[in-house]
């Protein structure tokens, strides 16, 4: 009997580079596949993909590129998807302000960070001015 070679998805975690706009699209595609495999509802898939799109754009545009790490996590009987967006950009001086609707350091609407927090179950923002930012989000099925 022939056994199938393991696909990357047999792994429970992985990462992808965030360097350009194409990577924002690739992030959405990967998160769609992962949330579908985890059997998220369509609304939950859409929320997680949208949050990933916002956060990967932040990493590409404001963080000057970075990496997205993904991990399938469990908590008792719960299964979820955790995404961490890491960049080595300028960091965020005032995180309270950055999480306020309408605040923007750039040309956007200032809704990416605060809005994506509402689309996930767990949200963690770590940032060091001059060193970079890491936003970790988790959505449970």
């Amino acid at each position: 009997m022939v056994t199938k070679p393991p696909t990357p998805r047999d792994a429970l975690s992985g990462s992808m580079t965030l360097a350009s706009e194409r990577d924002i699209v690739a992030t959405r595609r990967l998160v769609r596949e992962l949330t579908q495999e985890l059997k998220f509802t369509l609304v939950d898939q859409t929320k997680m993909i949208t949050a990933a799109s916002e956060l990967s754009r932040n990493a590409v545009i404001y963080g000057h590129g970075g990496v997205m790490r993904w991990e399938i996590v469990t908590n008792g009987l719960q299964t979820g998807l955790r995404l961490a967006f890491e960049d080595q950009g300028p960091g965020i001086p005032d995180t309270d302000l950055a999480l306020t609707d309408g605040w923007t350091s750039g040309t956007g609407m200032g809704i990416g960070l605060s809005g994506s927090r509402r689309l996930v179950n767990d949200f963690e923002l770590r940032t060091v001015v001059g060193a970079g930012t890491c936003v970790t989000v988790t959505r449970w099925r």
Partner: protein, 123 residues
């Protein structure tokens, strides 16, 4: 880079977005549409987003600015076909697409544009 085709039908321009949008593609659509409104004197623009799996703040902002550009050029924009899951997510994200006219589907969007044209008196 992909460019999204713009079709002309009578006095209306029709756009169906069928690809996962790169930010640049969305920006190019904004430029192309402004150009086409000017060259065709279109009075209505209909953008069908039923194939879009998500609308994030970037695409939301572009739709808002296309609506504003169309308005100052004398055209009406209607965005149609938003998936329910996309609508739920968009509102939770904090975007209401204020100022952007929407309709459930292409048919309702077209009748909205036709009613709009009638109320202008046509010519």
């Amino acid at each position: 880079m992909d460019r999204i085709p713009i079709l002309k039908m009578g006095r209306c321009l029709l756009v169906t977005i069928q690809v996962d949008l790169l930010d640049q593609t969305a920006l190019a659509l904004q430029d192309d549409l402004s150009e086409r409104i000017a060259t065709t004197a279109a009075q209505g623009v209909l953008i069908d987003i039923s194939a879009l799996e998500i609308v994030d703040s970037f695409v939301g902002r572009i739709l808002g600015s296309i609506s504003g550009i169309a308005a100052v050029m004398g055209a009406t924009l209607v965005v149609v076909g938003m998936q329910p899951a996309v609508a739920i997510t968009l509102v939770e994200l904090g975007l209401s697409l204020a100022g952007v006219r929407t309709a459930l589907d292409v048919e309702r969007g077209m009748s909205l544009l036709q009613a709009d044209e009638r109320s202008r008196g046509g010519d």
